[in-house]
Symmetry: C2
Subunit: 225 residues, 2 copies
DNA sequence: CGCCGTTCATCTGTATACAATATGAAATGC
DNA sequence: GCATTTCATATTGTATACAGATGAACGGCG
């Protein structure tokens, strides 16, 4: 009498892994905001499963750092301290620098070519001030860098760090002129990588992320309620 | 009528967090070997809880990378590929280098002093060839470096990476002469940090870990059955 | 009028029951 | 005798039931 309406909600096979991805996605893409509650029952209803797999998903998200959990409290979208946020941005700079350096040394000819193409293609988006599309390109660009380092563990770390930072830098490309600056910075990185200049690539990648960090931290503190 | 016998086995409050730590510890300290099964029922009996919290602990360990999980199979102690192992060691070098650099720049006077004391104290262990004790000292020494970088996120990453590597470098100080070499390498790092030479500290830390990596990988492939 | 304790609703933590899947052994056909 | 199928058993995956904790509403009492 209480399961009259089934099958209305998320409509997946709904394994725990899929739930993890779905929830992580909501957090990373900003559908859910830091501090927002994730109560088990609501999620269970939403995904049309019992609380058991929901709990497992939440625990996994907790281990990833995307949600905060305390005993006998609902999990909440991770709401990091300003100090920790700063440490993540700094770590991100360091990781990007490493990736750029290794990429300059290790990328295959194909990878270099693809990176350059991706980069050149984004020029159009800058001129059109297509912020959404540029953001997507930006993700792709950086992912190519991370992959280009040819180190799976570093890739894991940088990807996870990036995911955890995502909720805090949503608005980065809204800053006036940021698109063009981003493009120029990418250009320096690409140029260095193309000529195999590890030091220059590393330096450029470090600054690039550091700049984004500064801007984002401002925004993050803006929307702190 | 069926809970006559409780409280016989592991004797903790046995929260999930404690189980995670306990199992992680068994893996990291080498009580359990890569590939070994972790079946839920055995663990449940062992910790005197039901399978539900055990499953959550295993999922968390899976997220940490300490155990591998596949659908409908028992979790097993993580058994990484040689390629991935190599990527972790390389990442470890990079992270250590970062920590040493930042530590050289940021450590407080007290921290520097404590690091130097810790280091000097270990000389005795080298002469006595006290491998176990030196291993403990070594952990402490590196932890001081990580903390000294004053970056919580990097600390998390390096700590987690170190934990995942632990099962694969158990025997590092068994190599003849390794203790003395380790001490000398630490010495270079400490000296550089004491005089605030970030570049030298970074370089020394990088090589130090890279050397350990080489040795460990040999050992790891030795004992691959 | 305000403070404190009680009660109740809500939610998490854990145990248990059951369903689904994989594994290994026995049995059967070739 | 070997391969294959079938079935039993062990183990994971999920749902449900219940116990414990937390927070809020309410009412008594100073």
């Amino acid at each position: 009498m209480k399961q009259i309406r089934r099958r209305q909600v998320v409509r997946t096979g709904t394994t725990v892994e899929q739930m993890v991805r779905a929830i992580a996605d909501m957090i990373v893409t900003g559908v859910m905001h830091p501090g927002e509650r994730l109560d088990e029952l609501s999620l269970a209803v939403r995904f049309d499963v019992s609380r058991t797999p929901v709990r497992e998903a939440l625990r996994e998200l907790g281990a990833m750092g995307l949600v905060d959990r305390e005993p006998n409290r609902s999990a909440v979208v991770a709401n990091v301290t300003e100090a920790y946020l700063h440490s993540m941005f700094e770590a991100m700079s360091e990781l990007e620098a490493i990736c750029a350096r290794l990429a300059a040394e290790r990328m295959t000819v194909d990878e270099r070519h693809a990176l350059e193409l991706e980069h050149r293609a984004s020029a159009r988006l800058v001129h059109a001030n297509a912020q959404e599309d540029y953001a997507a390109h930006n993700t792709e660009f950086h992912t190519r860098l991370y992959r280009g380092a040819h180190n799976d563990h570093i890739y894991e770390m940088v990807t996870q760090t990036r995911a955890r930072l995502a909720p805090f830098r949503r608005a980065q490309f809204r800053l006036p002129g940021r698109l063009a600056k981003s493009y120029d910075e990418h250009d320096v990185i690409v140029t260095a990588i193309m000529r195999g200049d590890a030091a220059a690539a590393s330096q450029a990648a470090f600054s690039h992320v550091a700049i984004v960090s500064d801007a984002s931290i401002v925004f993050a503190s803006d929307k702190a309620e």
